[in-house]
Amino acid sequence: MTATASARAGSGVNVPALVRHYAVLIMLVALFVVLSVSTSSFLTLTNLLNILNQNAPLAIIAVAGTLVVICGGFDLSTGAIFSVANVVAAWVALHLNSPVLGLIAAPLAGAALGLVNGVAITRLRIHSFLATLASSLVYAGLAVLITGGFLISVQATGFTALGRGGIGPVYYAIVILALFALLSGFLLNRTAFGRYVLSVGGNAEAAELSGIRVNRIKLYTFLYSGLAAGIAAAIGVSRIGTGQPQAGDGMQLLAIAAVILGGTSIYGGVGAIWRSVCGVYLLALIDNGFDILNANPFFKDLTTGVVILAAVALSVASKRR
């Protein structure tokens, strides 16, 4: 916890450091192997594609959320943004009678709400944890108001193509996730913007004194997170063909859990995109496992909690000697 903790690491090939960085991957692989062995239905192309597809929206949110957390923030409003964006998409598709416009509206709405978050956080100088908690209430209210509490059903096939179609056997959602994760990883590791995100999260004062527009960088991360929630919503609403004001409920916590499970520090300054994606799919495998093993759902929460603890304990144990 103090210097002592980080002090200790092995020598040569740094096994503990490897374990620490790859803990979430190791758990993921372990669970993968267990499931492959326990049932023949698991290790099939369809099932794997399904798992990837089902959780792509969440993973997209977690990818952008990683940037937010690395930058020292917290976005608790992504679930509510998802809700707004998904009803906006359905509303637009229905009322403007254009599936395409509807699907485009979702990311735009998401980005706009993310921008509002960013402005509120940097202008009002509120900590993002509280600001996005508050804005998530406002947005959730908004989603309900847009629909009047009802669902907005869109049956046009053009509308559902994004969520249900794909390139060959690979769903569009998976392709979008892959592109988004690659783009985000590139942004973080190969661009000046990424460096700024890392440094603002690491030490905002030092970043400011280095001439970085700290507030602008923070704002961009929230904008990006909102955009991601909007993209995720486009996929989600297209899949179901229905805009639902509660669609995003609870997503924000899952996304943040995945990010932290991936080892990104809630204090900011360090983290990796791919590990957040692993975090999402670690949680997803548990879900999938319960369903295909027809296991008693009473044990699902418990198992999920234990797996998270195990993953973290694995990464932490390696920090000691």
């Binding site: 002090a7 040569g12 890392l198 999260g201 030490n203 400011e208 004194l209 280095s210 970085i212 300054g269």
Partner: protein, 517 residues
Amino acid sequence: MEGATPAAAVTVRDLSVRFGSTQALDSVSVSLAEGEVHGLVGENGAGKSTLGKVVGGLYQPDSGELEVFGRPVHRWDTRRAQDAGVVIIAQELCLVPALTVAENVFLGRESRTFGVLHANLRARYRKLEEICGFGLPPDAPVETLPIADQQKVEIMRALAREARVIVMDEPTSSLTADESERLHEIMRWLRERGTTVVYVTHFLDDVLANCDRVTVMRDGRVIRTAEAAAETKAGLVEAMLGEPVDVLLPDLPPAPPPDTEPVAEMRDVRGDAVRGVSLRVRPGEIVGLAGLVGSGRTEIARALFGCDRIESGQVLFRGEPVTDASPRASIARGMAMIPEDRRAQGLVLQRPVLENVTLPHLGRFSRSGVLSRGSERAAVRELVERLGVRPAALDGDVSVYSGGNQQKVLFAKWLLGRPEFLILDEPTRGVDVGAKSRIYQLIVEVAAAGTGILLISSELEEVIGLSHRVHLVRGGAVVGEVPGPGTSVDEVLQRLFEVGQPQQSPSADETETGGRP
């Protein structure tokens, strides 16, 4: 002290500590006698702080023995160390920001009944203050104090433990000469009471003047322990660095002619703690700011760099009035500032050396936002080598670099920008003699190449010896000016203290009042 060899307070034998690939301590054996002031010197990264932290219970050694007052200890942590009377003042300031001075000083040592605190904190503080005479406000949260005052809080906290062994890791790095002298008096007073003081510092004169014995370390090993009286500065330097190094101040480049257009200028600037400052720095000129702690030197620098808002007056850069003051704008104009608190303001500790160094200059290493990592690495590698940063790895974890090496990284960060105007706030704090002379050399070179420099240092020798002109600062205002080399330290001190003591300093007359130490 004289007479038979006193009993050992702390003995370490064959102590080794390894961090990853760094052997921080390599079979170190030292014995600290009861009631001695024991100097501990060595270049940056030699292992001094690590040794101190093992003794203080913060680090567990990989191997070796630790004996405290004749008893071998096995399980050792800060709590047990304190119970045994061993405390440490860490090199990097380590206080609880929101708690008051008095609360920090007695933290962990509160008087209480069944856990309920007694209302005697102030009384206890007053008693301690009689010994220290630092004159700090006991009820102010420490986060509102300047860094030097925080260092005094650290010292008081150690004294409040009524320890029998106190490890002081560079306690004077932020203190001015008179305050260091106050601390030395306290050390002598402690020694008379039989307390052992381990004094880690890069000020070798202070070591020679105040210590009974000195241990020299290099590369995690003890080179020798000897009576201070038997050591010389040159001898210590050679032992520390493995080679003789000339620690003289370099010659200054010629001052620019007085009619040269200044690169940076302040005209009657007023701000939070700045009370009407006018100064000008010309290209190639080094202007020093000398003042007591809390005199407002840092605030002047911050106002100039655009960190703090200015209420009135003007800042000019290259003759143009600055209207959009911000660090970002300043950097864009070609200014740079090495801030005084390297950990809080200078470095992003979670990020590696490379990223820290290039952070303000990414525009140069990227094309439409995409980094070109090859040129970035090449540029940083060159600087790291030139400054002798150790370890020299570009991907090194800067958070675990020794204090002095962190300072070098910070230096590299701003030199990379080839600024036209450079503000240096305590540029050699915590830097070893070897690195110090390298930094002096660098400052002079940079100035010779035409950069204007504003130099702030609490070491008067340094600020006088390296500046063409020195402004004397008191109460947020420039109260005088003296020429650089040639002016004596005493004279400057005299002038800083004369007329109407500034509020903060307890100093001069109190130092005379006898009784204590």
